[in-house]
Symmetry: C2
Subunit: 475 residues, 2 copies
């Protein structure tokens, strides 16, 4: 494992672990300037908050300092939410006040053309003068779930600590992604929205997250690298240790034009990125849905020893759809081991075809099938498609039987074979799917697309294979 | 429009509009035999139900006839839920009782190998002897939402009448799909699960739905055609009038093996199907999620005049992802009309780039942007990505402002340009997304993937283009 740049890493720490935070642009009228101080108070940061607004007075029970110079104490981070025109001057004031780290949330810079570009250059000069580090502008900043520090207001559940580091280039998208992830069982360690990347870029953040003990994998939405060569090098280094999942837009010319006009980034030819991702062994998502499903699975499942998939399903059709997707993504479905076959035959109804995929039909033998596959020595990973018609689910409910009663022990399947990834797919009646999700707990992902479930397992295998190639090369 | 086979169509009617229904295998113990009579009573069929069980007695307040021969009245349809062994004899009894239409839900026929195959042949012979029409075996039968007749228990909401005809080859999958569709805004006219296709096959049902006034489009999950040549011919004829959306498994050898073992169907080489679908101009879905999204859009939106897409978005990144997917699927994003540009400039904040895709950012100008695109003469279809960070949504809620207050009138956008499809995409905080979905109503689909949203619009255009080619050929 190659070590990152130690200076850079220490350098970014105050963004995630500030001693105190100045909010320039706190205000009593609706907007981020109103809600952000309130959110930080709720998250336990009230005693380390310094609000600045020339009008003075109070907000949420805290004093509003009329200028940055009036701020007492020893804060090391500022969040800037003032109009674009006022940002260069604000940076100057922050520099004079000795604040070394700034998140600029304001928009109106390179992404809006010539005038904005000039304004961003003024900001860059001001920051350089004082040696300040800047995230943004045109972003929503950072999140650290461990200490509940966030420069963006999120739902309580979004602050539940997890192992996924998030890098998003754009602010709105980053915010939407963070609103979405916890709803889909993905919990984050730290997140950064980069915005226009006036200073801090994806490479520095990748290195920071690489060395962050809370972060086990990194997901990144990218429109274009700030520096292609450096990005590839960083990606390769980081991905050799922690999986990097990438969603990149700008595959088409029109898509590239679209990105250029909103974060001012040039995305370049997609072929080059595709080659770079492949070379680094990073995992590229085909779609936003796939990115989130990949994060769900990579953050909870081990890497498989090989590409041999076992499928158990209560719907033959869904099993066939998953099988197609798995085979197309490079997985194999080997025949079941003799012992597995014998065990399943002993409990299976006559009509059940004991093979791989293993169609348990309406037998209800979900658990024995999953267990048999988890224990089969010829299987490296397991996909279990658990569906139940509403009519059957309803009858269980009427009789007071819950999903937990017959699937609750599934959570322990994870322990049978610690090295085998296990992914469950369920669709149909929402009541059943939600109960199932709850019964299986956070350790077993329940995805809602048979095709994506199969592809995430294939991605685990592809990632491991790429990492081994990389390790062999490095030896 | 070529007329279908009139005999066939009349012939299937009792499956959907029975005079009376015999349930052979009604019973007091848990299972379909218990819940189906109850569900049919709830749906208003209690006075036309005849339950058969050799034990006699009562169930749900209805008499249990000891044999089919004892059933009074004039029923013309039977649903058979007895064990496989008893099915041939039951068919014989039904034939003698003069019942011409039978749904066999029981499993244990060709899908379980030699013994089952022999049993299915006995059934075929019995049906042929009496000229009976049979759906199944190994299925969950039919649904007709117009008269609330269903041989499978579904949630109340699944019986809300809509324009989508559903054909699913397998019973469990069909049932799961029907449990799922209403939750995603897809409402059905009629549905058939074919099972082992001992008699009625997908071609006959396609023809029936083709002539069914309630059905505006057809979605079909297929593992293999009963007769490839006839299927292509039927598909072509039906698809020229009503869109046929197809999800087919068996793209890979392993996937084909999987289907062979559960509905006993041979799916054949996928290339042949792909060519057939293309020749017929039918719409092939890449995944189950895409099938459902396609159904949602095709059932509510008109066909576009051309391939010119206008995108409005409150997240530049999501706009870029959608743009990539749209361009890859054959759509164009032309520059905006001069008038549209002028109108947007007049209301847009300075920082807004007035172009296509139109990134309205956090301006909140969702509605004016959608309206401008709907009215732009150079745009054939509109995709609007409406996302709102939780922090902003929460502030609205705190202030008593609902999504309906600022998006409620969006429903009327559908009327501005009756010939232009309009699709909305939203992700992020579930509270916002659900409120948006509700505010827009059923006429404007809210999808949850920018890529699939773009591809469904491309599919509308591709379908129209294929239909026009077909019409030109037919002239």
């Amino acid at each position: 494992m190659e070590s990152g740049n130690a200076r850079d890493i220490t350098d970014l720490r105050p963004f995630f672990e500030p001693r105190g935070v100045v909010i320039v642009g706190a205000r009593r009228s609706p907007g981020f300037g109103y809600v952000l101080p309130l959110a930080l108070q709720r998250q336990g940061w009230g005693d380390r908050l310094y609000l600045v607004n020339p009008a003075g007075g109070e907000l949420h029970g805290l004093p509003l300092y009329e200028s940055v110079a009036d701020v007492p104490g020893n804060p090391d981070l500022a969040v800037v939410i003032v109009p674009a025109e006022a940002v260069p001057r604000t940076l100057d004031e922050l520099g004079k006040r000795g604040i070394g780290h700034v998140v600029i949330e304001s928009a109106g810079f390179t992404e809006v053309g010539e005038e904005g570009r000039a304004r961003q250059e003024l900001c860059r000069e001001a920051a350089a003068r004082f040696g300040m580090r800047v995230i943004g502008p045109n972003c929503v900043g950072v999140i650290n779930t461990a200490n509940r520090f966030s420069t963006v207001e999120l739902m309580e559940e979004a602050l539940v600590p997890g192992g996924v580091g998030v890098i998003a280039q754009s602010g709105v998208f980053g915010n939407i992604l963070l609103d979405d992830l916890h709803q889909r069982g993905v919990f984050i360690s730290k997140a950064v929205t980069l915005g226009n990347r006036m200073d801090v870029d994806e490479c520095e953040v990748l290195d920071y997250l690489h060395h962050d003990p809370e972060t086990r994998l990194i997901m990144i939405y990218l429109e274009g690298a700030a520096d292609g060569r450096r990005f590839l090098k960083t990606l390769r280094r980081v991905n050799a240790d922690k999986p990097v999942l990438i969603l990149k837009s700008g595959r088409t010319g029109k898509g590239r034009e679209a990105t250029a006009s909103h974060t001012g980034s040039m995305s370049g030819e997609d072929d080059l990125y595709e080659a770079a991702f492949r070379q680094a062994g990073a995992v590229r998502a085909r779609s936003l849905d796939e990115l989130v499903d990949l994060a769900r699975v990579f953050s909870t499942q081990p890497l498989p020893a090989g590409n041999r998939l076992g499928v158990a399903t209560s719907s033959g059709s869904l099993g066939a759809l998953a099988t197609d997707a798995a085979v197309e993504a490079g997985l194999r479905l080997p025949p079941l081991d003799e012992d597995t076959t014998r065990r399943m035959r002993a409990i299976a109804p006559r009509w059940m075809n004991v093979r791989n995929p293993l169609d348990v039909g309406p037998s209800g033998a979900y658990l024995p099938a999953m267990q048999a596959l988890m224990e089969d020595p010829g299987i490296d990973m397991v996909l279990s498609i658990v569906v139940m018609p509403f009519a059957v689910f309803r009858e269980f409910m009427v009789r007071g039987v819950s999903v937990k009663d017959f699937m609750g022990s599934a959570a322990s399947l994870r322990e049978i074979a610690p090295g085998k990834p296990l992914v469950v797919c369920s669709i149909g009646d929402k009541g059943f799917v939600d109960d199932l999700d709850h019964a299986l707990g956070l350790g077993i992902p329940v995805l809602h697309s048979p095709e994506r479930a199969a592809r995430t397992l294939a991605a685990l295998h592809a990632y491991r294979a790429a990492r081994e190639r990389e390790a062999a090369r490095g030896d």
